[in-house]
């Protein structure tokens, strides 16, 4: 009986030893050198693997960070400046702070403003609809409302508002990874700096039709009337293809353009409520906190 046990122990141990020797030899022979800093950098990253940095995942981002000479070209939108500072510390380099960004949906076309002109009964997928035709309203530029951006969001930062049929971005959850921007077939989502005290002003419309056509399709469309352009003293507004665009870097958040917009297409976000004169009732509606 003892013999059997001894024999077993010897056999198994020798097989194990032989395997260990082979494995050790193989691991030495086929060793691939990897910069240990890659692992260190990866530990600092949020591990969301969202692709927001433009690379397939956090590991690739870490590799790129180690390889690059200038960390300012790299940015992890999820971790933000904090993470980039940590990465810079690990690598012993310097990095400049970047503006925090947030996704904004540039469409105002709730059903009460934008009448349906046809009925779509096919697959509920924005890209399929956009490939097929212009959408069920007369505005060919606006939101289709099937929520592909919401599906694309990895951070639960978006939802479809059941009353307006439009996507809403939750500001505190949005990491500005840009997944929604990429997936939207109508290109109505833009990444904009969050602004001072999270306050920002933007034109919530992408309609490039002439004023009359745009207004007919949607009563809150930007008609390119250039009233905001005349009002702005800071040269922050430009109008192209009958569509106004506010440059976030030039805008000083004076809110004058918001008051003059005849179609309420310009939005102000996170501002304190205005003291209203009686005739300014329409403005009241717009000072809604988004998210």
């Amino acid at each position: 009986m003892n013999d059997v046990i001894t024999a077993t122990i010897i056999t198994v141990s020798s097989v194990g030893l032989a395997a260990a020797v082979i494995l050790y030899w193989a691991s030495q022979k086929f060793k691939v050198f990897e910069d240990p800093r890659i692992d260190d950098v990866e530990k600092e990253l949020p591990a969301a693997n969202c692709g927001g940095c433009g690379l397939p995942g956090c590991r690739n981002f870490a590799e790129a960070c180690v390889k690059t000479d200038n960390l300012d070209d790299m940015f992890c939108p999820v971790g933000g400046n904090e993470t980039m500072a940590k990465v810079a510390k690990v690598l012993g380099r310097e990095v400049h702070e970047k503006d925090k960004q947030v996704a904004v949906v540039k469409c105002n076309g709730a059903p009460q403003f934008r009448k349906k002109i046809n009925e779509y009964d096919g697959v509920k997928n924005c890209t399929i609809v956009a490939n097929f035709y212009s959408g069920d309203t007369a505005c060919q530029y606006g939101c289709l409302g099937f929520g592909e951006c919401v599906d694309a969001c990895n951070f639960d930062a978006m939802f479809m508002d059941p009353h307006t049929g439009l996507p809403v971005v939750l500001e505190n959850k949005c990491t500005a990874c840009g997944a929604c921007v990429e997936v939207c077939p109508k290109d109505i989502i833009e990444l904009r700096p969050t602004g001072k005290k999270s306050r920002r002003i933007f034109v919530s419309c992408v309609n490039q039709d002439r004023g009359g056509t745009a207004k007919k399709a949607c009563s809150v469309a930007c008609t390119g009337c250039s009233l905001c352009l005349k009002e702005c003293k800071y040269d922050a507004i430009k109008i192209e293809n009958f569509l106004s665009y506010i440059d976030p870097h030039k805008c000083v958040l004076c809110r004058k353009c918001v008051s003059v917009c005849p179609t309420d297409a310009i939005w102000e976000v996170n501002f304190p409520a205005r003291k209203l004169k009686p005739e300014e009732n329409s403005v009241k509606l717009k000072t809604i906190k988004r998210g």
Partner: protein, 444 residues
């Protein structure tokens, strides 16, 4: 023994209501809307401006690049505006709007009904005339014809196949053309044979059009090397690759042009347009459109000028029935629903089909039961259910390996699916995405 393609195919109800209705020429409308992009390829460049006087047949937009086609005015009158106008899909595209005044044709166009049998032009002249006349494939794909007649030097065309299958249910425009303009068609075929330097032509016709088969068979005896092949009635018999397989028995390899196996396919409508362009100097400014539907009071085949509004056409056919659910441009299998009847007939409009609410309703999507009916009917031998699953999960690269670009978008899979799954919608989505990926790779 009837010829057919071996794999897949379906047998939808034919519903060829208008098969024995003679073609009626529609009166000239008051206004026409002529988009400058009625073909595959680069949009044509507009060469007229507002308030210009144009004559019927005058060129209003020049072809812009090799794969492009010229656009001609289909009426005489004044250019009302050159502007972006919503097309059938609702997207705004450049179009020329012309207010009609009288009907004054260009002098060099032969408007008589006489049949000219002599082909005096040589090969290059024929190609030039076809290109100048803006002839495109009238089967629906609207691929510029002159491009198709100039195959790559390495490949030599051997046989010209004329597509008279008209496998789409409801549509009868090609059928009527074959019956009414048989002689012209055969001359057109001769012209194309000369242009391609081939000495064999076969007209493929589904056997539900026996009158057309008989007529063309009798007439073709007077012409050398032209024969008629009766084909089995099966959808999509008129698909280019299916037709080649049925007529010649050769299979076009994946991703290759049909001319690789020596075949060039042209639709009968295109052949007639070629005849008019070469023999009569007449550009492509009108076409036969079938206006049909079970509830229309006066369905029929109409010869209409390009740019005539769909509304006008429907009014001639008895007005829009009350229970209309969808107006479809093209046939029920591959056609697209229009968003408004206020859009113009283009070169590619082979039919206007009015479906009732009942007929046009999409049934709700149910789970896939793995019956493999879509695999069975796919004429290209693909696995539509699998492609849809991959596409839904956005695994577009994988669909490329599954041969997504072989899909001819015939819609047989969506038609046959007992669970009413929108297979083709997702395949189209994937095709589009894969095309983008390929383009990105090429740029790199």
């Amino acid at each position: 023994m009837l010829k057919t393609f071996p794999k897949g195919g379906i047998h939808p109800p034919e519903n060829k209501i208008t098969a024995d209705k003679e073609t009626v020429t529609l009166p000239i409308p008051k206004q026409v809307i002529i988009p400058v992009s009625q073909h595959i390829g680069a949009p044509a460049k507009v060469i007229v401006k507002k308030n210009d006087k144009v004559k019927t047949g005058q060129m209003i937009a020049q072809s812009n690049g090799f794969v492009s086609a010229c656009i001609h005015s289909s009426v005489s009158g004044t250019v009302f505006k050159v502007d972006n106008i919503p097309d059938a899909g609702g997207y705004k595209r450049l179009a020329v709007v012309i207010n009609v005044e009288g009907d004054e044709w260009l002098d060099n166009i032969d408007r008589s009904e006489d049949i000219i049998k002599e082909i005096n032009s040589d090969k290059n002249e024929i190609l030039k005339k076809i290109q100048d006349a803006g002839v495109v494939g009238l089967g629906g794909a609207t691929f510029p014809t002159h491009v198709k007649l100039l195959p790559p030097k390495s490949m030599k065309p051997e046989v010209l196949i004329i597509n008279g299958a008209e496998c789409e249910p409801y549509l009868t425009a090609d059928h009527r053309l074959m019956l009414e303009k048989s002689e012209e068609l055969l001359i057109g075929i001769k012209i194309l044979m000369k242009a391609l330097s081939v000495n064999k032509a076969v007209i493929g016709i589904e056997n539900n059009k026996s009158d057309a088969i008989n007529k063309l068979e009798t007439l073709s005896e007077n012409y050398d090397n032209i024969s008629v092949a009766a084909l089995k009635t099966k959808y999509p018999q008129g698909g280019e690759k299916q037709l080649i397989k049925a007529v010649t028995g050769k299979e076009v390899p994946s991703g290759e042009l049909p001319v690789k196996v020596g075949a060039v396919v042209q639709n009968v409508g295109t052949v007639f347009a070629v005849y008019e362009a070469v023999q009569k100097n007449k550009p492509l400014i009108d076409r036969i459109v079938t206006v049909t539907g079970k509830y229309l009071s006066n369905p029929g085949n109409f010869k209409v000028r390009i740019g005539t509004s769909v509304k006008e056409l429907i009014n001639t056919a008895g007005g829009l029935p009350e229970n209309t659910g969808k107006i479809i441009s093209g046939g029920p299998m591959m056609g697209r629903a229009l968003i408004t009847d206020n859009t113009g007939i283009t070169k590619g409009t082979s039919g206007i089909l009015i479906l009732s609410e009942q007929e046009s309703k999409r049934r709700s999507l149910k789970p896939c039961i793995r019956c493999a009916k879509c695999v069975e009917v796919c004429p290209m031998g693909l696995e539509p259910f699998f492609l849809m699953a991959l596409s839904r999960k956005t695994l577009f690269e994988k669909t490329e390996n599954e041969g997504i670009f072989d899909c001819i978008e015939c819609g047989s899979c969506s038609y046959i699916c007992p669970s009413d799954r929108p297979l083709l919608d997702f395949i189209r989505l994937s095709k589009k995405e894969v095309a983008l990926i390929r383009k990105a790779k090429r740029i790199k």
